[in-house]
Amino acid sequence: MQIERRLPRIAVQGLTGCAGELLVILENLGSVLPFVQVASFPFAQSKNDLSDIDIAFVEGSVSQKHDIDSIKEIRARSKWLVAVGNCAVHGCVQSSTCSRYKAKELVEAVYAKDSPIEALDAKPLSSYVNVDVELSGCPIDKNQFLAVLASLLKDHLPYIIDRPVCLECKMRENGCVLIEKNLPCLGPVTAAGCGALCPSFEAACYGCFGPCKDPQLNAMATVLSEKGYNLSDILVRLGTFGIPEQVLSNLDVKR
């Protein structure tokens, strides 16, 4: 008797985000289709079935009650849960703002006083559920995505680089924009993965892959303030793509 081998079932779901990761995955679906069955991908197909998922990729931050329900459901139904993109891993730009303002204040400012819209502080997935793999990036790098999927298909945890952008910047031999142009490059505290994209375009890294492992924020703020940047501006800049406000407010910058 021939038993048909079941292809691993993947799901690609979005919470609150810009659909960037959905787009990256959609555009690279062609090369992985022979290996997986796309069980759910509301962005790309009409019939979706979120049962018995092997690998779920989830984009977006948790920003409303509806998101909490979705992420809990996805978690319960999948073996591997992969947070994709800065929103899902760090909360991205919306979470940095939520730490500067109260959610209610935001609703009132953007919508109307007494608006019935219920907003939560934007949080990464890991604030609500256990996440197996976090792949950051805004947007994620397609090669990293493919490597993560390939590893998970072998049931292995993927290797994801957690070193600073500077390493990739050196590998590409860019002139350092922090040194040569005094631009506020956040490469030293930002996770690699993009291939040092901004410095390769002669611009300052603005941190879109989120913090690298153990970022030296004090030293970063010190270096930038020596270059003439205002300390409070530096802190706002550092916080944009995922360094939590609590961490920044506890910095002890000499100067």
């Binding site: 031999e173 002139g175 922090l178 040569e180 030296q216 004090n218 030293a219 000499k254």
Partner: protein, 330 residues
């Protein structure tokens, strides 16, 4: 025919070895490139093994013969150091394969304020080149190091003439003059001792607080060779395969000395920075029994925080009139 690599300008202040097709592309004025020529032999990322399901095989890169033009004495010394590491037993076939394919053309240079190869005894073209050119303004004085290089010279005889006495004099004058141009001069023989004695110097704390742990200093160093090995799974047309890759690592990254169980033997930038300085100034009981710095000054110019001023650190460790570190950095 393989490629020719030579320094080209990549930004206002920086140069890099890139493939060139025309003399006009070459930046003859380049003093130091961002990455040293080690990148040709020990690339930032390379595949070591290939594994498809049941078979594991060595990834054998077919390396076309290539030439590197414009390698300065410190970089030749750096290559010699790497040779000692990678060509000691067991030999690293990946390095070896590339090393054998290369034709290295050295070029003389004049030091700037960051150069201290003289102090590190890496200022003269020693070995490791095929041809070495000394710039005598209107001509080059060519040193030939082996049979292959000699055959090359014979193949372009029409551009060459035998060195005259005057040329020999010119050569000596060039290197003598150059010798007097170095700002930094200290006795490198004392460095291991200085490093040991200065192990608890307050300087480390001061430097560590400014250190970004960005790892810029290690890839640029001609003698840094630490690496990580990772397996990368990938798709091919029918199945998921894996590659074992070797990538440059840096002792400045926080995970470098972490082990399972949450222990990290060098948890902070102070520990890590000191570790790096120890390697550079003291050396290891590894195949290079010399301090593993050739005085190229790359780490100094590529540190965004301005703390890798090796000569400055050495002076402080040596207890010379205390330099204002801030001043040095600015």
């Amino acid at each position: 025919m393989g490629s020719v690599y030579a320094p080209v300008r990549v930004s206002d202040q920086s140069f890099a070895f890139r493939s060139v097709r025309d003399e006009a592309e070459i930046a003859f004025e380049a003093l130091r490139t961002i990455l040293p020529p080690k990148k040709f032999f020990y690339p930032a990322k390379e595949t070591i093994l290939e594994c498809d399901g049941d078979e594991v095989k060595e990834h054998i890169e077919v390396v076309e013969p290539f030439a590197v033009f414009g390698v300065h004495p410190c970089d030749l010394a750096g290559l010699n150091a790497l040779d000692k590491i990678f060509l000691s037993t067991p030999q690293d076939s990946h390095y070896q394969r590339r090393r054998r394919a290369a034709f290295i053309i050295g070029l003389s240079c004049l030091p700037d304020k960051h150069c201290f190869c003289k102090a590190m005894k890496a200022d003269a073209p020693g070995k490791g080149y095929d041809l070495f050119l000394t710039d005598l303004e209107d001509k080059y004085f060519v040193q030939v190091n082996n049979q292959e290089a000699f055959e090359f010279i014979l193949s372009c005889k029409e551009f060459m003439h035998l060195a005259s006495d005057q040329d020999n004099q010119g050569y000596k004058k060039f290197w003598n003059d150059r010798d007097s141009m170095f700002e930094h001069n200290f006795d490198s023989a004392q460095l291991p001792n200085l490093m040991d004695l200065g192990w608890d110097h307050p300087l480390w704390q001061e430097l560590g607080e400014r250190c970004l742990s960005c790892g810029n200093c290690t890839p640029v160093c001609p003698t840094c060779y630490c690496f990580d090995m990772t397996d990368v799974a990938m798709f091919n047309s029918e199945k998921v395969e894996a590659e074992r890759q070797r990538v440059w690592d840096s002792c400045q990254f926080s995970g470098f000395a972490a082990v399972a169980g949450g222990e990290n033997f060098r948890p902070g930038p102070v520990d890590r920075l000191k570790f790096w300085y120890r390697h550079k100034l003291h050396g290891f009981e590894d195949p290079i029994e010399i301090p593993s710095c050739v005085g190229c000054g790359r780490c100094t110019v590529s540190c965004p925080s301005g703390i890798d001023d090796l000569p400055g650190v050495i002076r402080i460790l040596a207890g010379r009139p205390q330099l204002n570190l801030e001043g040095e950095i600015a």
